[in-house]
Symmetry: C2
Subunit: 276 residues, 2 copies
């Protein structure tokens, strides 16, 4: 089986390597891509295709792994090129967005969501899938580094699971950073850390870890938080938690290229816009 993985970032390349380890040939689209992407694709054992036409003509399935705000463009370009094989969207998007993609792609659409870091060793990372064709995805990956699990239900069910999961993990990271910024603005950080040390002993380390762990990725968490907010809103539940989280990550966008971004820099970024 030949699988197209369009633009392999860190997560996509790890899925590609898992597919290669399971005996599949994996192609990627090298046209206009950076040298670092090329190195990552080669390290994962992927084969370059020069154009989208070449890539799709050679592939039985496409897996889309990209920032949430790009998921629709990728699906539209693949469907527009006439591709009729399996199309697995593995992105952090709202169930309603997944159902819109399903309409664009057609009956070969498979809804997916990834939980965990890039899948370099077994047990860390799970790909959830739903819809027709979902049951086949496990055989693509075999028993390798990526665990594949079917979420019962139509397309959208796997995306709903991803939204619910990230609603807590990335939502509370944003909340912790907002609280550290508020404490700093109010001049009571020392007292808060003393109280946390007494009654919430993991929160100081978690907030410092949230700063280091999200600063470089905040730019792409903005769209994910907006997708989560839309998911709550569509079910008549408050969307404010994650619109606020989107605002926090938006203020951190400029830290993408700051390899030394830590809590003090994050707090500056969060408090700066209003000190102008």
């Amino acid at each position: 089986m030949r699988v197209a993985l369009l633009h392999p970032g860190a997560m996509g390349a790890s899925l590609g390597a898992a597919l290669v380890a399971s005996g599949q040939e994996v192609l990627w689209l090298s046209e206009g891509r950076s040298e670092s992407t090329r190195r990552r694709a080669e390290a994962a054992g992927l084969t370059a295709a020069a154009t989208l036409h070449d890539l799709l003509a050679a592939s039985d399935a496409v897996i889309s792994v990209c920032p949430p705000h790009a998921a629709m463009d990728v699906a539209t370009s693949v469907a527009g090129a006439g591709f009729r094989g399996w199309y697995l969207d593995a992105n952090a998007i709202a169930p309603a967005t997944a159902r819109t993609l399903a309409e664009v792609v057609g009956p070969t659409f498979i809804d997916g969501g990834i939980i965990g870091p890039p899948a370099h060793r077994p047990g860390t990372t799970r790909l959830y899938v739903s819809g027709d064709g979902a049951a086949d995805v496990q055989s693509w990956f075999g028993d390798g580094a990526l665990g594949v699990h079917v979420v019962p239900g139509p397309p959208g069910a796997a995306s709903a699971l991803k939204m619910c999961y990230a609603a807590y993990t990335k939502g509370t990271s944003a909340l912790l950073l907002a609280i550290r910024a508020l404490a700093e603005a109010e001049g009571i950080s020392g007292s808060l850390l003393e109280e946390w040390a007494h009654s919430q002993p993991d929160l100081t380390a978690r907030s410092e870890g949230a700063a280091r762990g999200t600063a470089g990725k905040a730019w792409r968490f903005v769209g994910e938080m907006e997708e989560i907010a839309a998911t709550f809103e569509a079910r008549g539940l408050p969307d404010g938690f994650h619109l606020a989280a989107a605002e926090i990550y938006e203020r951190m966008r400029a830290l993408k290229d700051d390899p030394a971004a830590d809590l003090p820099r994050v707090l500056s970024a969060l408090l700066e816009p209003r000190s102008e």
Copy 2:
């Protein structure tokens, strides 16, 4: 020293008992109060005063422990009655609200915030205080069940600490309940609990505990979440996390008198308003 504790609820009565144990006389206002409040006050060793005038005339200090939305009314009625002793507001209010109370009460105002459950045994509960007079509060309570700590800074600093603390604890409880409701609405609760069991093993129990622990108190958390939202907004930070939390607790308001309220009942309350 004689301390007035106006309307002792569960928290206020525990502060009263701690003051009595430290040798103070503690008075409460029995006019128009229920039999259960009377029993609680007597069990705590408090002395009834029939009218606000009698109470204040006999007291050196007033401690206000009430739902956040009532804090201003209590301060206004005490100041309006001409009371000039220490006035300690121990409620969950925004720093700006505390500063407004300070203007109403005058230079005898002490800002406070309580972290922990009712103080029945040492080590569980801390009263944070700030402003002139804060350093004296420790001597009122002695070395009893309630720990008293000064937050450096003007009135508002202790309230800011309480806001930052509850922003996480009560904010994440509301978020967890919203996520459980969303998973239910999307039909993927089983898959979410399986994923949590694998990677976030405390969240299932925490969400069930949040339902049982907040259902009966949600009616008074609404005002606290609004005070927290105002605290973020005043510092140019997003207020959406806690406006959303206020909405969650608002939908749970009717569970106040349901002693058996558990997660399924909370989820029904959260999802009902939009199924009409």
